[in-house]
């Protein structure tokens, strides 16, 4: 009797045991694999990752070119290695790995629009990495059997990117088994993608002009003759954000970082705001779209803004703004200011309706709040038709490519004004804009005309090509708000706008001509070597150090 019970117990326990006695538990039961993936989902991931890539890689570019505040005291710290791990990861482990997974699947199924989009974005990403860091891993990259990929020269990567863009154009032009209707950027319109690819080639050749003038001239002339560059508003290569707060958060990242109950977020650049406000006879027509003032009065409390009691540094010229760029409440930071953060989150100037989807500045002077303004339904201006004209203007002026620099400058400004206008009027702020403009008798077209004629007069008054280039460069810089990639390229290519606001510290070190390599790359890759200084330029930048400040 007893033995029987013991037997039963042992048997029960053994059975319980053997039920769990399975060692074949290697497949993760919680995830999908390449065998059951969906190519449309992969494409979505690539496009969304490109959105993040654009925002991340251009951030320092905006700050170095005084489009946003740069919060370190010296250049060496402004581009420190710890800043770029995210940029590196987003590009290589995000976009490039997914593109590498997508392209063979797309090609095997003749889904060539998918392949073309992946190739275009991959080429753009590689070019942006070269422009940010210089030589970076390419041919040995994205290989899981090689943990220590070596770098390729920036020039070689540029060449590979051009070939990739050509291949993409070929993909877009070929017959596909199906389109990419889910494409978040152009809804699968191949003509817009071809124009984007060509415009990226234009940018590549323009960057190369300093080291290969003849090659760039010929190539740019070919692109102009091909007439397949971005030229209409709908062809603008932009990423559009929404206003959904959570699950998913579709708001513009700059908006999301600022429009909350306690404000805060990015400090704007005093220099950029000052230029928009007072460098022409009247404030730039775009200024109320670019910036939102939470208060329309300048602070008088040292607790809110410490520099109001400080004297302007001796190394600042009369033309340089300091501390408060205007008398009407525009309020950001001077270049390379590492000041702590006082309780000014609901006072400092915020991102406006363009491109971040924030508030229109109608002199309301009330603090930002969650969901205020256009709710974050902004854009990333990744490549606009106005940028095309500014680049062509620079090209015409410096290399004599087809077209008149003056005409291109004019159309560049006009297209920028028009596209900014179209974007803001497409938001929920449109009503507020109409009301404010009619109340204040502001006629948009008059403002633009006045502005364009001021600039052209300045251009016509310029006596040297350098001065003309400064006019073009300055206008391009003012049109680039939200795009730090091209403003950084512009500054390194031309040194324009000249006479940028100096750093607060009289000895901030030399201007950063590229970013330091990311810390993760240096510590994890045996073949990686950190650059000696921030003055190491990228391959196409042969300008003298004295050009920059």
């Amino acid at each position: 009797m007893l033995k029987r019970y013991i037997g039963i117990t042992l048997l029960t326990a053994t059975l319980l045991g053997t039920g769990a006695c399975k060692l074949d538990l290697l497949d993760n039961p919680n995830a999908v694999t390449t065998n059951n993936t969906d190519i449309n989902y992969l494409l979505n991931s690539i496009e969304l990752t490109y959105r993040d890539h654009f925002n991340g890689v251009g951030d320092s570019g905006m700050r170095l070119t005084r489009m946003l505040n740069q919060g370190s005291a010296i250049y060496d710290n402004a581009v420190s290695p710890g800043n770029y791990d995210g940029v590196w990861t987003t590009a290589y482990a995000g976009l490039l790995t997914d593109a590498k997974t997508l392209i063979p699947i797309a090609e095997s199924r003749q889904l060539l629009v998918h392949a073309g989009i992946a190739r275009t974005l991959r080429a753009s990403t590689m070019v942006n990495l070269v422009d940010a860091f210089g030589d970076v891993p390419y041919t040995e990259a994205n290989d899981p059997t090689n943990f220590n990929p070596k770098t390729d020269g920036g020039a070689a990567i540029y060449t590979a990117a051009l070939a990739e863009l050509d291949k993409a154009i070929e993909n877009f032009s070929a017959t596909s088994s199906a389109g990419a209707t889910g494409d978040l950027i152009f809804g699968g319109t191949t003509d817009s993608w071809i124009r984007t690819a060509n415009t990226l080639k234009l940018k590549i050749y323009l960057n190369r002009r300093l080291i290969d003038k003849a090659g760039s001239t010929a190539a740019i002339n070919t692109l102009i003759a091909g007439n397949k560059l971005i030229s209409t508003n709908t062809q603008n290569f932009v990423f559009k954000f929404g206003s959904n707060l959570t699950n998913p958060d579709t708001r513009h990242p700059r908006y999301a970082g600022q429009y909350g109950p306690s404000g805060g977020g990015d400090y704007q650049s005093n220099s950029y705001m000052g230029t928009l406000y007072s460098s022409k006879s009247a404030p730039d027509p775009r200024i109320r779209f670019y910036f939102y003032r939470q208060t329309v009065r300048n602070p008088t409390d040292v607790n809110a803004l410490r520099c109001i009691t400080n004297a302007k540094p001796a190394h600042y010229s009369d033309a340089d703004v300091f501390c408060l760029p205007t008398s009407v409440g525009y309020w950001g930071r001077d270049h390379l200011s590492n000041e702590g953060i006082p309780p000014d989150g609901l006072l400092r100037t915020a991102w406006g309706v363009y491109p971040a989807g924030g508030l229109y500045d109608n002199n309301a002077g009330v603090p930002v709040s969650l969901g205020a303004g256009a709710g974050g339904a902004g854009i990333h201006p990744m490549m606009m038709r106005s940028f095309v004209d500014f680049m062509l203007a620079e090209s015409a002026l410096t290399m004599g490519t087809t077209g008149s620099a003056r005409d291109l400058l004019k159309s560049g400004i006009e297209k920028s004004m028009a596209d900014v206008r179209t974007m803001v009027l497409g938001t929920t702020e449109a009503g507020k804009i109409a009301t404010f403009e009619s109340d204040n008798k502001i006629v948009w077209s008059d403002e633009v005309t006045k502005y364009v004629s001021t600039v052209l007069a300045r251009y016509d008054a310029a006596t040297t090509d350098d001065a003309r280039l400064n006019v073009i460069g300055t206008e391009y810089w003012l049109a680039l708000y939200g795009n730090g990639i091209e403003s950084y390229n512009l500054y390194r290519r031309t040194g324009k706008p000249a006479n940028q606001q100096p750093a607060l510290d009289p000895n901030p070190g030399s201007f950063a001509r590229s970013y330091y390599y990311p810390a993760s790359y240096i510590t994890r890759n045996a073949n990686a070597r950190q650059k000696a200084t921030v003055t190491v330029p990228v391959f196409w930048d042969n300008n003298p150090t004295s050009l920059f400040r």
Binding site: G17, N44, A73, L245, N303
Partner: protein, 1068 residues
């Protein structure tokens, strides 16, 4: 399933009680020759047979003997065995005397095998219940703090119910678990800390699951530290094993008695000493900031630049930037009448409360010679030192021992625990709100400016119910609002059952079968109303974990004396363990109605769940040989198969060997003169395996069902290649450890010493290794690297001044462990162990001690002088630099026990030497000017300018730029870079004081009470971190990074607590 097993077992017990023998019956009593007390648990065996019995709690036994020629053998540990012929007696009382020569100690070793301590070739520490029960802590981990050499225990914080980190002999892995295995009543017990997310996402409120053990129900704790001791536990034992025997699971005989214990303690926070001269502001300018760098109030009234400052005469709630908030608070502001700024010296102190901790335990035991039982119940109710924080715990247990037949016996224990922990959210803060956008109640409390009436001012917007606090941007969540509106809870229901069946097959051959089930559900909730500063629209997260361990072992033991001088024993065992973990998390945001926490009261819900399972099967063997009772050899090995690596790498074998030599037995002359009573030399080498976490060998894709909304508002899905690269070549890792030791007793056993040295090498470490993203992945699990831990453990104890009524018994515990990273696989230079991605954190760097702290340092020239910028400020380094080694040089404690008649006093003092500590409390309080350390009381006049010693970056000449006190402390040392917040962590601590009184038996017996005692106990009564400024009153016993491999960081997640109270213990 569980139920069936339970029914089976119940059936067996019932049967067991009716099992019956025959032939002649002898009864009797065994008493001690020294003090005449009854000896329970004495083995009584009929010589030459397997018939045996054990004495009960009163020393009584009864046994059947075949005839009058039979001889009974009485044996008991530490006593000289006696053989007595029965003759015609039916009652046989026996007196046993101590075996002074041997003083044998028996300890529990791996797989529950009791062995004589002298036969062990490795270090084992056994801790009696006296050092565990009646303590003010519900967490057994914290009770063991400092009591065992080589075991390092750190609390996450002083907040009730938070986790505890335990490491034994250092860190054997870079990224893998270094937590020891808990074995309770012979089978594995999950001791995970299931935090919902990392240290910047609210992980700090999670508890460690050994919290489910009731310390008052623990009979004893044995710690197996080295691999030579733990090899048969397989890979799970590689970080050491903590063997816990509950009163329900003990094999020894149980007295028939009822014990009732009632404790009551208070729980208070250790707080800084605040200065009350300077008020809030910055640059000596009055204002409502985070910082307290304003003027003194008399100065503010005296100086024209200040006395017109509206902050002086207006309530801060009149200054809100947001008009709607200003309007909402206007009635309150106007109700105050004329406002005058004043200092509230107790604003922080009054935020904390004195929590009460009450523990009730009931233990009931009894039974006869065949069957004995134990029933335990415990209830612990603890209030934390902050409101709405506490812990309620109910433990119920049942244990049964039964001799089922002559050959079969069973020990079974069933334990149920219900643990209910609740707390406002805790999350890391750097001294200005919380990190990662996840709220924390303590992120902003400690540095409350002196003129802020935290406990007096309203904290709720009367219109919206949102948080209101003193900064004009209203960007600090009011801590009192958090207490009212934010809650985290963790409810655990746990069933833990263990059963061992012993079958004496033939003489010398025994089969043991053990089965254990440990299953729990842990239901965590994070309930945040809308209206705060983080997660502004409300947040609700339910995180449900189910964890089940099934563990089966069968062990065949064989013992054979081969001749008189040589005994051989062998064991062969098999073990299978299956772990299943289910987690379901639902995160909801955008609350509809306040104070309602249901997922359908939120607009957005995101759910995710996951399941992991792993199985390990092992076969182990052990051979021990005893030569002449002075030379002992132990050989063991285990072969494992794991489910977590690909088939080709699935199997690993690892052996161990140890030897023990007792010269005092071998050469009896050594004992002459009474100087050396006992000496033992031991040496061992052990190995162990480590297995990776499940699913590390194959690649997967991530997916998101709601990654985006397209322009039409339709959801967009994504698939993307996971950034972790699967590694099909992943292998188990191998740990090797050498240890040697010397133990002895001297001066008539008044001085005992036990010294161990060890070296542990771990190679082919399974590491979650970071990859350069340009490979396409950011990390992979790979066998790289080598860590070496070397250390010394010393335990010295003695009995001094022993007289008839007084004795002083001090014990010194000393540990030193040096962990060093020898190799990281050639190409990798460093691996971040814990911290902020790529910046401040613990790192494994080749050639450096493991876990060095790296962070942003201050720039220096080649001479080590600070480089100063044009504004007179420090400059930070471009990349993180090594700031310190957080590993203490040594830790030690001195436990003094004084007894005088029935009074006993225990005083435990602990000292930690060295070990760098990054402290946000220090950074925030010094950087914001709160404590006496940088105020008038500390001799610092903030009205004076200061110059940072260093040289100018521009030209290398000495810095002469004068800066303000605010700039000096806030903008430079403490809030700029990480270097200013690093301190040497040497700490001296009065860890425990306990005064107890045992009431004399002669009085008690008259009123039917067997024994009664009363104790006053204090825990963490006083400490001093020697190198921290005194006013901070900072406690280094804190783990800001939460339970894991990181150490040496504190992020304002709660000061430590002091607990004080009394316990009454009655036995009937």
């Amino acid at each position: 399933m569980t139920k069936h097993l339970f029914m089976c077992l119940v059936g067996i017990w019932l049967l067991g009680t009716t099992a019956y023998g025959q032939s002649r019956r002898i009864t009797g009593k065994v008493t001690s020759g020294e003090d005449g007390t009854d000896i329970p648990g004495v083995s009584v065996v009929v010589k030459g047979t397997t018939t045996g019995a054990t004495t009960d709690a009163d020393g009584q036994y009864s046994i059947n003997v075949p005839n009058e020629n039979a001889t009974l053998v009485y044996s008991f540990v530490g006593m000289t065995s006696r053989e007595v012929q029965v003759g015609n007696r039916s009652v046989l009382d026996v007196v046993l005397s101590s075996d002074n020569k041997q003083l044998q100690e028996v300890v529990i070793t791996a797989q529950g095998i009791a062995r004589e301590k002298k036969a062990l070739g490795y270090s084992v520490v056994a801790l009696d219940k006296k050092l565990i029960e009646d303590r003010p802590q519900a967490d057994v981990g914290r009770i063991l703090q400092g009591k065992i050499p080589g075991v390092n225990i750190t609390a996450t914080s002083g907040v009730s119910g938070t986790g505890t980190n335990i490491t034994i002999r250092g860190y054997s892995s870079i990224t893998g678990s270094t937590q020891p295995l808990f074995v309770v009543d012979g089978v594995p017990f999950n001791s995970s800390t299931n935090s919902r997310d990392g240290f910047t996402q609210g992980g700090q409120s999670a508890s460690s699951r050994f919290l489910d053990l009731d310390p008052n129900n623990i009979e004893n704790v044995t710690v197996l530290k080295g691999l030579a001791a733990t090899v048969t536990y397989g890979d799970q034992g590689r970080n050491g094993v903590i063997l816990v025997t509950t009163k329900n699971g003990t094999r020894s005989a149980r007295p028939t008695e009822v014990a009732v214990t009632q404790s009551f303690f208070t729980n208070t926070a250790h707080l800084p000493t605040y200065q009350n001269d300077y008020v809030g502001g910055f640059q000596q300018n009055l204002g409502y900031f985070f910082s307290n760098f304003g003027p003194t109030l008399p100065e503010a009234y005296a100086y024209p630049s200040q006395n017109t400052n509206t902050a002086l005469t207006n309530h801060p709630y009149a200054f809100f930037s947001l008009a709607s908030l200003r309007d909402a608070m206007a009635p309150y502001v106007s109700s105050l009448g004329q406002y005058q700024m004043q200092v509230y010296p107790n604003n922080v102190r009054d935020f904390f409360r004195t929590g009460n901790v009450a523990t009730t335990s009931l233990n009931l035991s009894g039974g006869g010679e065949k069957v004995s039982y134990n029933v335990s119940a415990g209830y612990h109710n603890e209030q934390g030192y902050i409101p709405n924080n506490g812990l309620r715990k109910l433990n119920l247990g049942l244990g049964i021992n039964a001799q089922l037949s002559k050959k079969v016996s069973i020990v079974t224990s069933l334990n149920f625990a219900n643990t209910d922990q609740f707390s406002p959210p805790l999350n890391a803060g750097q001294g200005n709100n919380t990190l990662g956008g996840f709220p924390s109640v303590l992120a902003n409390v400690m540095f409350t400016p002196r003129q802020v009436d935290l406990m007096g001012w309203p904290y709720e917007n009367p219109i919206t119910g949102g948080s209101v606090y003193f900064r004009s941007g209203n960007d600090i969540p009011n801590p009192r609002w958090i207490i009212d509106n934010y809650k985290t809870t963790g409810v655990v229901n746990r069933l833990f059952a263990s059963t061992s069946l012993t079958y004496d097959i033939v003489k010398d051959l025994t089969l043991l079968y053990k089965v254990g089930l440990d299953t729990y559900s842990e239901n965590q909730q994070y309930m945040f109303n809308k209206g705060g500063v983080d997660l502004v629209n409300g947040f609700y997260n339910t995180f449900d974990v189910r964890n089940t361990i099934w563990d089966n072992s069968a062990i065949l033991s064989y013992t054979k004396p081969v001749g008189e001088k040589f005994t051989l024993s062998a064991r062969l065992g098999a073990n299978m363990r299956n772990d299943r973990y289910n987690a379901t998390s639902v995160v909801s945001q955008n609350q509809l109605a306040r104070n309602l926490f249901r997922h359908n009261n939120f607009i957005d819900n995101v759910a995710s769940n996951g399941f992991t399972e792993q199985t390990r099967i092992g076969i182990f063997g052990e051979i021990t040989a005893d030569f002449n009772n002075y030379l002992f050899l132990n050989l063991a090995g285990r072969n494992d198969w794991t489910s977590t690596v690909e088939v080709a790498n699935r199997e690993i074998f690892y052996p161990s060997a140890s030897v023990s030599f007792v010269p005092t037995t071998a050469f009896t002359g050594m004992q002459g003169g009474g100087v050396l009573n006992f000496l033992k030399l031991r040496a061992g080498v052990g190995t162990s395996a480590g297995f990776p976490n499940p699913y590390s060998t194959r690649n997967v894709l991530n997916q998101s069902a709601r990654a985006w909304l397209n322009s039409a508002g339709t959801t967009v899905q994504t698939h993307s290649v996971d950034n972790t690269l699967g590694n099909p070549n992943l292998m188990p890792e191998l740990h090797t450890e050498y240890e040697a030791g010397i133990e002895g007793k001297m001066f008539n056993n008044t001085l005992n010493f036990d010294l161990t040295v060890y070296q542990r090498n771990t190679s082919n470490l399974i590491t979650s290794s970071p990859l350069d993203a340009s490979t396409g992945y950011t990390n992979t699990t790979i066998n790289i690297g080598k860590i070496r831990n070397e250390g010394i453990e010393l335990n010295l104890s003695g009995t001094f001044f022993k007289t008839a009524s007084f004795a002083w018994t001090p014990t010194l515990v000393f540990s030193r462990n040096r962990p060093k990273v020898l190799d990281l696989g050639g190409t990798l230079q460093e691996v971040q162990v814990a911290g902020f991605g790529g910046s401040l954190g613990n790192y494994a760097v080749v050639g450096q001690p493991f876990n060095v702290i790296k962070g942003t340092g201050f720039r220096r020239n080649d001479q080590g002088q600070f480089l100063i910028d044009g504004g007179g400020y420090l400059l930070t380094t471009t990349s993180p630099v090594v700031l310190g080694d957080p590993n203490p040089a040594f830790t030690s404690s001195l436990i003094n026990n004084f007894t005088y008649k029935d009074l006993s006093l225990e005083v435990m003092v602990a000292y930690r030497h060295g070990g760098a500590m990054y402290s946000t409390t220090a950074g925030a309080l010094l950087g914001r000017g709160l404590t006496v350390d940088n105020a008038l009381a500390g001799g610092i006049d903030r009205a004076q300018t200061m110059i940072i010693p260093g040289v100018k970056l521009a030209d290398g000449t000495p810095n002469t730029t004068q800066i303000t006190a605010s700039d000096f402390y806030f903008n430079n040392y403490y809030f700029f870079g990480d270097e200013g917040r690093i301190y040497d962590g040497s700490t001296i601590r009065l860890q425990e004081v306990s005064l107890s009184y045992r009431l004399p038996k002669r009085i008690l017996n008259k009123i039917g009470i067997k024994s009664a005692s009363f104790a006053l106990t204090g825990n963490n009564l006083w400490y001093r971190a020697l190198y921290f400024p005194k006013g901070l009153n900072f406690d280094t016993d804190n783990l800001g990074l939460g339970v894991g491999n990181g150490m040496g960081f504190e992020f304002l997640t709660g000061p430590s607590s002091r607990r004080l109270g009394g316990t009454l213990r009655l036995t009937f």
